[in-house]
Each structure stands twice: as C-alpha cells, then as structure tokens.
Amino acid sequence: MGKGFNWFRWRPFIQGAFLLLFFLLFLQTTYRGRDVIPYPVNLFLRFDPLILLTTLLSTHRLPVVLLPALSVVGLTLLLGRVFCGWICPLGTLNHLLSRLNRRPRTGPGGFRWKYYILFGLLASSLFTVQVVGYLDPLSLLIRSLTLAAEPLWNLAAHSAFSSLYEHGFKVLEPLYAFLRAHLLALRQPLYHQAFAVGVIFAAVLLLNLLRPRFWCTHLCPLGALLGLVAFLSPLSRRVSPEDCDLCGLCQRLCPSGAADSREGLWRKAECFLCGRCQVLCPSRAVAFGFSLGKGEAVEGMDLGRRRVLLSLAAGAVLAPLLRLSSLPTRGREGLIRPPGALPEAEFLRRCVRCGECMKVCLTGGFQPALLEAGLEGIWTPVFDFDLGYCQYYCTLCGQVCPTGAIQELTQAEKAKVKIGLAHIDRSRCIPYSQGVDCIVCEEHCPTPEKAIKFVLGEVVTPKGPRRVKLPVVDLRLCIGCGICQFKCPLEDKPAIVVTPLGETRGGAFLLPT
C-alpha cells in the first residue's frame, strides 16, 4: 500500500453501492409474482460472522448456510474492520448521520462496552440462549426497516395519494402507480411492536449526534468481534514524525476514535479503515500499510480481566434466568410459528429476530412476539390471524430465513404441515348461536378436501328452531392456516380461532377420532 494507496477515495462509492444493494434486496424481500424469490435477499445476514459464531455456539452445529460469513472474517484478518467502514449498511447510515454532528470527537470513551456486550452474547449463546438478534447490526437494521420504517413510509405515501385522489387530483396517478409497483407494499404493513422497534432504531440513529457513529464504536457486538479479529491483522498505520506537525486534524476527523494525534497512536481494533486521516492530512504524514510486527504505534487492547469475566458470567446467567421466569406448564395458545419452523427450543436457538419472514409474509400475518413465546422469544415471529393468515401455496418465509429456524418447504411439503388447529366458538358463531347461514370459514378453507365442512342441523333461536348449515372442523385435514379466523365476519372476537394445538413440529398429538 504505502503512500500511493488511494483506494480510500473510492470508499464513499463502495459504501453507497453496498447500501444500495442492501435496499434493493430489502425491496425484493416480498412476493413479486414468483413462488421462489429469485434473489438472495438474506445475503447480508449470511455474511455476518457474529450470527455464524453465535448460531454455532447455541446449536452446537455448523450452520452451513452462514459459512459465507467466514469471508468477512478473512477480509478483516487482512484489512481490519473494512466491513464496518465500507460495507455495513447500518454503519453507512450512521456514517451519514454523523455528518450532522459538528462537534469534534472527544477522547475514547466507552469503547470497551461493545466488547463486554459481545462476551455476554457469546456466553449466553454457548448456554443456548440466542439473543444476538437484538443487537446484531444487520438484524437490527432489517427488523427496524421492516417493522417501523417501511410501515411509516407506506402510511405516508398511501395517505398522501389517497387524499389527492379523493380530491379529484389525478395528475400524479402514474407516479403512484410506479411507486406501488416498485417501492410500496401492496397493503399497509402493520406490526404490534412497531413503536418500540421504531423508537429503538431512532435512538440508534440519533446517538450519532452525541458522538459520531456511537453505535458502531460503543455498542455494536459485530464491530467488537471484527475488532478482535482486526487486532490480529498485519495492517499498520504509520505517522511520519518528520512530516506530522501535530495539528490534531486526524483525531478530530476520525469517526471511530481510532486515531490519536499524540505520537501517531492508533487503536487498531477501532479503526474502520475509512482513510480520512490519510486522505485529509494536510502534511501527508499518515500512511496505511502492512507490517508483520505489532507496530509500535498500536495501542494495546486492555479490557480488564475482571470485566471480561463479569460480562461472560452475565451472559451465562441469562439462560437460566430467562427460562426460570417463564416455564410453561401448557402449550402457549398464542404461539403459532411459521410453517417449517423447528421445534420451539431449537427454533429459539436459531432465530435472530431479523424480521425477514415478517417482511416477506404475503398477508402480513407474522407479528413480532411480545410475550407469546416467553421472555426469550421477544420479537420472534408469531402468527396473528386477526391481521393475516398463512396463504396455502406460499413458502416464502422458509426461503428468506437466514439461519434455518424456519426450514424451506416445497408447496407439497407445506400442504402437509400443521401449524395449529381451528376451533369454533359455538357461543358466537352465527349459525350455531343465531340459526343463520354464514359458511364464510368453509368457503375460504383452502385444503382440497375442506377441513371445514358443514352439516345441516337444527338450532334453537328466539324465532323457534331453524335448520342451518353448521360448520365443523375436521382436525385431520385442518392445517391451522388461519384464513377462517381472518375472514370470520364477526368484527371483534372471531368465532373461529386457531391455536397451535396439534402442530406438526410439536411431535405426536393424538387426534381424537
């Protein structure tokens, strides 16, 4: 490299290109007319070494689909945290927002926090609690975009164009048609946890006003992992003492706090390789290069043995604590998992709460759990059949899940998977309670041989006995897709409800015959 290394000038373009790629893949994470999504929409997650490592620890198995992440480890081993500085889409967003922060960076503050967070996460995943998704930057970004940003953008666009339309102003209709075809969701996405997820995302972005790239420098566990790897890299940064006039510009410009103008000190594990110090140095004193030795100007990494042990212990204790507080004695009635989801314990060890499945769900039925799956399962996907249902031919969620928590199924396989069973509430169901034909559930039931049938029966009504078509559920045929609950014409509490009873992944459930 040496002084001729001007690749740094390309960094903004490469950052922009990766951010664009990220958004394009995000937009393609939806049904666009093909049963199989032709793009690798979860690509970024599959290149995430933190998810690779924690999944390996929590499942005690090598997650083959995540192996591309090793290339990021290799890259970091060679060139330091270029992932943070050049590739990470959340890093790039933080980078852009940091530009609003005109206050100069002060000294290195809580840089160590992220390492403790990392150690805590690693320890907890070793003890089979996989909570990495809350703090992994890619999970966080995709989840926040899916649950909060996209709904917000859709609401704004749909309301704006709808009110224009209502007032007879139709000039912008072609623009709206274009947006609908490419950038807007078909129907307004709605998620229970949108507010919480949105506030957290806003906080992550606004922290850049406190310190440039606060998230990346203080909190990001992936950054910490890559920092540890980067520390081993042969990368070096030399400040020529003859040329440096101690102006301190590099320290002020450095977004990561890695550069210290005192004696050209460099915190290797913190550096994003953005190259601003080299490019903008007025006396051209800074040069990145390679050296096999440790390099004299590299500051050692002192995390403190006690604190490291403490964070490991905290992570280890998380497992029993989380599980002690939520030991279920019965199955949880609201816990309906996607078709193809692994058995619950195994599912929780894999799900990284990235929200890809919620983004792709055809009907918007997936919702981030609050307590449906216990404390351990917050923001994992559960079905809310009042908001959407599992479309009979759709297999998208299994295609986009980056960790295999939801297995990919073919349409034929999926048609045989039960995610629950439907139950009729006869005290509310219109034919049973009012003696009036309805049959909306039967009509929508998608199985070739209907799982909801009707039988003619007599019902006592205020107007005397009446013969009506009474819906009954055939538990052998019901797959729990929830369309009956979703379409039930009772506006508040539906008279047919699906619970996870009898779900295939739960193992043997003897059907009453």
């Binding site: 049904y31 129907r187 479309q391 759709c394 034909d437 049959i439 909306v440 998608p446 009707f454 039930c488």
Partner: protein, 293 residues
C-alpha cells in the same frame, strides 16, 4: 306474488328492452359453444354486436371472477380466454379504456397471476390493477338489506359494466354467477352479506345493473365451490351464455348446471323485484350450441 308486486313487475318489465328485442328479432340471451373467443364473437353477433352495448369512447369495466389463488384448470376463476375475448370485443367496439380488477378473496398478487387473467387481459389491451383499500366509497345502495355500503370508486365512475362471471358451485349460494360476482366490487366486511345473501345480492344487482353479462361455463366447478382445488370437481362444458338480463343469464346458468333457478336464492329474489326474468320460457333465447333448453 301479490297484486302490488305483480304491478311493480309489470311496470319494471316494461322498462326492459323487450320491444327492441322483438322488433329487431334479436334474442335476449344467447348460448354458444366452442372455443371461447369464437363462441363469444358468434354470441355477440347474434345479440346485435358489441356496439349495441358499448359506445365509442366509453370507459368499460370488465369484471371477471378473480377471487382465488387457483390456476385456470381448477375453474375457480373466470377462464382467462373468455376475459381476454370480452376485452377485445369491447375495444373493437370503440371503448376508450377497458379496466379489469376484482376485490379478490385470496392475496390479489397471487390471484391475478395464477388465475392467468392479468396476463390475458393485459395482452388483450385492458388496464389491469389491484384494488386500493383507500378507494372504496361509502355510498347509498338503497336496497332492502344494503342501505349503504363501501363500493370501489372506479366501479362507480366507469361508463359501462360488463360482468364476466364463471358458473360454479357455491356452498352457501348453491351457485355463483353474475349477481354473486358483483360482490367483488364492494368492500367493507362484505362477508356479512352471507347472513342475508339472496336479498343482499339482489340489492347489488339493482345497484350496479351491468350492461351485459357474459357467463363463462367453459369449465364448470361442480362441487367444492367457490374455490375448488380438486380437478375431480371440474367439468368441461365449453359454453358461454351472453345476455343483457342479468337475472335471465343466471337462471340460464342454473339450468345448464342442472338446477331449477328457483333453487339459487338470489335469482327469485331479483326476479321478484323486477330486476329481470327468471322464467326462461319468457326469454328470447338463441342457441348456437345446437341444443334445446
């Protein structure tokens, strides 16, 4: 029938273009058989040509039954070839624009594609688009059951409606044809219509009054309706029924299916209100399929 409704019937049926039909020797209803496009073209010719219904410059809504995520062979949606042929005939008759949409039961993206209708109708020159949730308008229906309801804005604004239903079994209505197909133009909690289906459908028939009904009986879903899902239920009939009297077309469909029109609730309901004729002996039918009804 009491005297009052009989008089009403007389009065209303006077409004129907009986005279025109008789004077020109034109039938009110044509049954044709064969490949969809040819059968349809012949049927419309017998009716006096599409130009009778579509004026130059009209914006026409061609309303197929596009409800379910099933490919054409399952007969759960209108045959895409029939839709395309209707679109083409409308455009040939001088329509300025032909719109095709439906408020599908399943996810519309899947339904529009898998039914084959989007591709076929676009290919024939129609504008095919999804229903926008924000564009239903609550309007006065003035019916017996439906006083007011959410109706899709575009369905109110078009000049002409050509209803293109498919003939199929329906678990509640017995059969779904033209009048039932109009449910695809409304929003709200429309499933509640099921509680008083026949009268509600007659309300919709009175409200929308399509200019022309093209009943697709090319493939007929004989059981498991309305969405089917098994080829065992599908019967090839290669027939289309075209007419201006939406009650007569539905009544004819019922007969083709092998039912008495009286058995399909909305038909007698609409007949009683004078929306059309369900007694096929009183309808001038022309058969291009070489059979007698």
């Amino acid at each position: 029938m009491d005297r009052r409704s009989f008089l009403k019937f007389l009065l209303l049926s006077a409004l129907l273009p009986w005279e025109q039909g008789l004077a020109s020797g034109r039938p009110d209803l044509v049954i044709a058989k064969g490949p969809p496009e040819e059968a349809l073209t012949a049927a419309l010719e017998a009716l006096g040509g599409m130009g009778r219904f579509i004026s130059r410059g009209d914006v026409v809504l061609v309303k197929p039954n596009m409800s379910w995520d099933r490919p054409p062979r399952f007969a759960a949606n209108t045959n895409p070839e029939v839709v395309a042929a209707v679109v083409k005939l409308c455009l040939d008759a001088g329509a300025r624009k032909v719109k095709v949409f439906d408020h599908s039961c399943d996810d519309p993206r899947r339904v529009y594609r898998r039914s084959g209708i989007m591709q076929a109708a676009k290919g024939a020159g129609a504008e095919v688009y999804y229903v926008e949730p924000g564009r239903f308008r609550r309007v006065r229906i003035g019916g017996e059951v439906l006083k007011e309801w959410e109706v899709y804005g575009d369905a109110l604004e078009v000049d002409k409606i050509v209803n293109v239903p498919v003939l199929k079994h329906h678990s509640l209505a017995r059969l779904t044809m033209g009048m039932k197909n109009l449910m695809g133009l409304i929003g709200g909690r429309r499933a509640q219509l099921h509680w008083q289906l026949s009268e509600a459908l007659a309300d919709l028939a009175a409200f929308f009054r399509p200019q022309l009904v093209v009943l697709d009986a090319t493939r007929v879903l004989t059981a498991g309706g309305p969405q089917g899902g098994s080829l065992n239920y599908v019967k090839e009939m290669n027939t289309v029924v075209v007419g201006t009297d939406q009650v007569a077309v539905d009544a004819c469909g019922a007969r083709l299916f092998g039912l008495d029109p009286e058995e399909v609730g909305c038909i007698p309901a609409a007949h009683r209100r004078g929306l059309g004729e369900m007694d096929l002996r009183r309808v001038r039918i022309k058969r291009l399929d070489g059979q007698r009804i």
